[in-house]
């Protein structure tokens, strides 16, 4: 077993795409915050990116099979951490999501996302049939359901939702039967009223204001409206770097983070959006390609778990920016400012690199 893959085996294309997206993000964070009380935020983001790159390379060196071996223990650690954050966590913005590590507040749920990717990969790799049995499907559902419930309790609907596509994509690739899929979809529909009742008032408000944005011109409907105005007023060519009035005058809510795509679209226009979304598409397709070339099922599940998580983030965030989905508070990977979220993406890409480095190894 040759366990020392060379540097030329890294996916340099993937890294180039990644770095380009990060650069767009840093540029837009600078544009959105310079001249305001938040000026200098791009430097903090750069620091996170450096840390992320280091962690990514570190994680890629460690054989993913060894990581998968420890999946049950990682799962227990993740659950314990979620319980701990509920018990002792730091409350910010009305939710218990943060624990202080190394002088920064980290979101435990970001780490848990990574653990669930690993656990799901391990679980479905253990399934040896081509068709996924109902029994295994339910098992997988329970494995994901427990942390999901704990994250919902924080409450953090956005992160909790990200766990769902991990399960869906995993199950799909593990041979999910169409009849089971149909049944789950039906049950899900029936459960919607129940879900509505357990939702927090602010979450319900977001959904209603999404349905009827004109009725709530100042609340979360206002945020979406301002975002749409920013995007729409950018036009095809954009208003130019630092010239977005919606952005510069503070009409776009959290313009350096959740709504950074809105600021980007205003200043860079449709051509800039084409570039950004093109890069994300290339990133995701590159991930799928890596999955297709993985040496084994376990590696394939790992890579596709990462692809599912990132794809879901991009979809939900960008759809929110253009008013096609309700506001959920999911950041745009690699462009939005944020420590924990950035670290998560790099660690996840680290896993992908890990799988790629070992594709020829027997």
């Amino acid at each position: 077993m040759n366990d020392a893959p060379g540097t030329r085996d890294y996916d340099w294309w993937l890294l180039a795409i990644l770095a380009t997206i990060c650069a767009l993000g840093v540029i837009e964070i600078y544009s959105a915050t310079h001249g305001s009380a938040l000026a200098g935020m791009q430097n903090k983001q750069l620091r996170w990116l450096v840390v992320g790159f280091v962690l990514m390379f570190a994680l890629s060196r460690l054989d993913y099979h060894l990581i998968l071996d420890q999946a049950p223990i990682l799962y227990l650690i993740g659950i314990a951490a979620l319980i701990a954050v509920l018990a002792f966590g730091h409350t910010r913005f009305g939710a218990k999501r943060w624990i202080p590590i190394l002088g920064e507040f980290l979101q435990v749920s970001e780490l848990v996302k990574l653990i669930i990717i690993i656990v799901i990969a391990r679980f479905f790799a253990d399934v040896r049939t081509d068709e996924l049995s109902l029994q295994d499907l339910i098992k997988a559902g329970l494995i994901v359901g427990l942390p999901l419930a704990l994250i919902l309790k924080q409450p953090d609907l956005g992160t909790a939702l990200v766990l769902v596509p991990l399960l869906v994509v995993g199950a799909f690739l593990a041979g999910l039967q169409w009849k089971h899929a149909a049944a789950i979809a039906l049950i899900g529909l029936l459960m919607l009223p129940v879900a509505w009742r357990v939702m927090k008032p602010y979450q319900r408000e977001r959904v209603t204001s999404f349905m009827h944005p004109e009725e709530d011109a100042k609340g979360s409907g206002y945020q979406v409206l301002q975002s749409k105005i920013a995007v729409g007023s950018g036009g095809f060519w954009g208003k130019g770097f630092g010239n977005g009035t919606q952005n510069q005058l503070g009409y776009i809510p959290v313009r350096y983070s959740d709504f950074i795509m809105s600021a980007w679209a205003e200043e860079q226009g449709f051509k800039g959006v084409l570039l950004a979304l093109g890069l994300y598409m290339a990133l995701l397709l590159r991930l799928v390609q890596n999955a297709q070339r993985a040496k084994d099922r376990a590696g394939m599940f790992l890579v596709m778990g990462v692809a599912a998580a990132l794809g879901f983030h991009v979809l939900v965030n960008v759809a929110m920016v253009i008013g096609a989905m309700p506001v959920t508070g999911i950041p745009l990977p690699l462009m939005s400012y944020g420590g924990s979220a950035t670290l998560f993406v790099f660690l996840a890409i680290g896993l992908v690199m890990n799988v790629r480095l070992r594709r020829f190894v027997n």
Partner: protein, 651 residues
């Protein structure tokens, strides 16, 4: 450890391919969404972004100034700052309200009230929370630009009147438009706009009011103006037009000083044209108090003041004209020959009519004889004998008296260009039947003939009346706008002998021995006039309750010069002074007429001073405001006949 999964290389390539298509489809859909916003609906959102960031801020147009007849500035403007509260962000307002209240020293309950009353206005419309910012307020706003980004300063133009209530009843004052005015204005007024409330400010509001300009500024998401982004298009304000008044600053000043603090009024007219040369009413509020928002308490105290400082007595005081009215009675007598011109009567100090004694004022004289003896009309006017006119009135009857009275203007508005003029009252048979549903008592005419009883008139009315008679029956409509067109004119032909006799008598009042205005002579000027001392209550009642000041007589004097076709007529009312018209009011009229001739002499001799020559009508004329010393009358002492402020060097 299980190593089996290292060798399981069955990959679901078909399903992975589906994943690729899903990704492409997903990005495609998102791009479609962006295409719709950024290309299809781009214009719509572009306009919305523009509306978001661009706000129109009014530039208040200055009101037109008021100039005196020589072009000197009487009413001007000065720039000042109002503090606006931006209402775009209710949560931030709630948070910052205590700090704002403390920083601007406004009670927080006031702020809350203002927010409550304006809560139905659009959110983007700021409200004025402090109409006039002081230096501390400006400093507070500047130092909290970031933590309280809700305050904005708006430059406004405030009215500046001459201090001490100078001419304030004539000029009137401005105030925030009322709801009714906004409704009636057809969109011309918005809440918070200033409009003339009284006086000339109200009369000529349309001329004086300019058109506010508009500045389009870039604002951030809390509605705060972003300075460094520069302003966009600007619409210049169009200042209101200035008006030139007929008022003569010099005469007005003399009138203000001469009347002092005594309650009453002065009107000076040029009977040849109807131009009002001076108009004073006392007591007076300072119109500057109204230029900034007046508090409810101040307003209440002004309204409840028993002396009614808001009343413009020159056109609104409807009081018994007293002996001044004898000129009407005399005119009726001479014109109708009832009784004949040679009529004489004996005045023993009283007359007995219908079994009742009517006293002449001379009966109560402190010095000298208590009777007038035998008088003709000329002497009766000179000495203002009541008994003579009781007899004339009895012979004339109310119908004739009422006819002449109203033809000469008593009971009718003069039509001066000021709001809220009162007509006074000329009683008649028809009037008592209509109002009291009874017949006229024959004895009532005795009082009316001497300007007592139900007859009332305003100072302005009497000025017009005396001036018009001296003009031979030509009554020009009194007015205050210098360039006024189509001045109304009433002609009530009075025969030349009648005018001669009456003006002779009025000349005698001042210039012949025994006249009631004998102390008022002016060397070289045909100063004529008629005094009046009108009872507020009957003499008998006054004797019973003692000489309390509030029952004192109203002193009238209407003087003019020269004797025929006068250039100036001055009507003076001093209320409840305890003195006769000739003593209390006569000197005021004399001061003004003397000042008129003094100025005229300086003009003809080419000795006009710099002050008189300031005919500058341009914008630079504003400086004139500070040059003139103001008449400040502080104490009530020294208001006796001598009145120290007189400009007469002979006194």
């Amino acid at each position: 450890m299980s190593y089996w999964f290292r060798n399981d290389n069955r990959l679901p390539q078909a399903r992975l391919a589906i994943a690729s298509y899903v990704i492409v489809g997903m990005v495609g859909l998102l791009l479609l969404g962006f295409w719709k916003l950024q290309v299809v609906d781009s214009d719509k959102y572009g306009q919305m972004a523009e509306r978001n960031r661009v706000r129109s801020i009014p530039i208040i147009a200055p009101r037109g100034r008021m100039l005196d007849r020589d072009g000197r500035v009487l009413v001007d403007n000065y720039p000042s700052f109002s503090i606006l509260l931006l209402r775009d962000d209710p949560a931030l307002i709630d948070k910052s309200l205590p700090a704002i209240a403390e920083g601007l020293s406004i009670p927080i309950s006031d702020l809350k009230d203002q927010l409550e009353t304006t809560k139905n206005l659009p959110k983007f419309q700021p409200i004025v929370i402090k109409p006039e910012a002081n230096n501390a307020d400006v400093a507070f706003i500047e130092s909290h630009l970031f933590d309280i980004p809700l305050l904005e300063m708006l430059m406004v133009q405030r009215r500046r009147y001459l201090p001490g209530g100078f001419m304030s009843h004539a000029s009137g004052y401005v105030g925030e438009v009322s709801e009714q005015q906004i409704e009636a204005s057809n969109g011309r007024f918005r809440p918070g706009d200033l409009a003339g409330k009284t006086g000339l400010e109200r009369q000529y509001n349309d001329i004086l009011t300019g058109t506010d300009g508009m500045r389009r500024v870039v604002v951030n998401s809390v509605g705060k103006e972003v300075k460094d982004l520069g302003h966009l298009t600007e619409q210049e304000p169009i200042p209101g037009k200035q008006i030139q008044l007929t008022i003569d600053y010099d005469l007005q000043q003399v009138a203000e000083q001469s009347l002092g603090v005594r309650p009453g009024a002065v009107v000076a007219l040029d009977p040849r044209t109807g131009e009002v040369l001076a108009m004073v009413s006392r007591p007076t509020p300072d119109a500057n108090d109204f230029a900034v928002r007046i508090s409810a308490d101040e307003w209440k105290s002004l309204n409840d003041d028993p002396l009614h400082p808001l009343l413009n007595r020159a056109i609104q005081a409807q009081l018994a004209p007293g002996s001044v009215f004898k000129i009407v009675t005399a005119t009726a007598m001479l014109e109708d020959h009832v009784p004949e011109e040679g009529f004489k009567t004996f005045c023993p100090g009283y007359g007995t009519f219908f079994g009742r004694q009517y006293h002449c004022w001379v009966y109560y004289a402190k010095t000298g004889p208590r009777t007038h003896g035998v008088l003709s009309l000329h002497d009766a006017i000179l000495k203002s004998c009541d008994v003579f006119f009781y007899n004339v009135g009895m012979r004339l009857g109310i119908d004739r008296l009422s006819y002449y009275g109203s033809k000469l203007g008593v009971g009718r508005k003069t039509g001066i260009d000021l709001p809220s003029e009162e007509p006074g009252l000329m009683p008649s048979q028809e009037w008592v039947e209509r109002v009291f549903h009874r017949k006229w008592y024959a004895g009532e005419v005795i009082s009316v003939a001497t300007g007592q009883g139900a007859v009332t008139s305003t100072p302005l009315q009497l000025a017009r009346l005396i001036g018009g008679i001296a003009m031979g029956g030509v009554f020009k409509q009194p007015h205050m706008l210098k360039d006024a067109q189509n001045i109304g004119e009433e002609r009530f032909p009075i025969s030349e002998p009648t005018v001669e006799k009456i003006t002779d008598a009025m000349y005698g009042v001042i210039n012949e021995p025994g006249g009631t205005g004998g102390k008022l002579k002016l060397a070289g000027i045909e100063f004529s006039g008629k005094s009046g001392t009108a009872q507020v209550i009957g003499y008998g009642t006054r004797d019973r309750v003692g000489k309390e000041k509030k029952f004192e007589d109203n002193a009238w004097f209407v003087g003019y010069a020269p004797r025929r076709n006068p250039e100036i007529v001055v009507s003076v009312l001093v209320q409840e002074s305890g003195q006769h018209g000739g003593e209390a009011s006569g000197p005021v009229a004399r001061d003004i007429i003397k000042a008129y001739y003094d100025k005229k002499a300086r003009k003809t001799q080419g000795q006009l001073t710099a002050d008189d020559e300031r005919y500058d009508l341009g914008p630079g004329a504003a400086a004139a405001l500070t040059i003139h010393a103001q008449p400040v009358v502080k104490s009530a002492s020294g208001i006796a006949p001598g009145h120290a402020a007189s400009v007469d060097p002979e006194r």
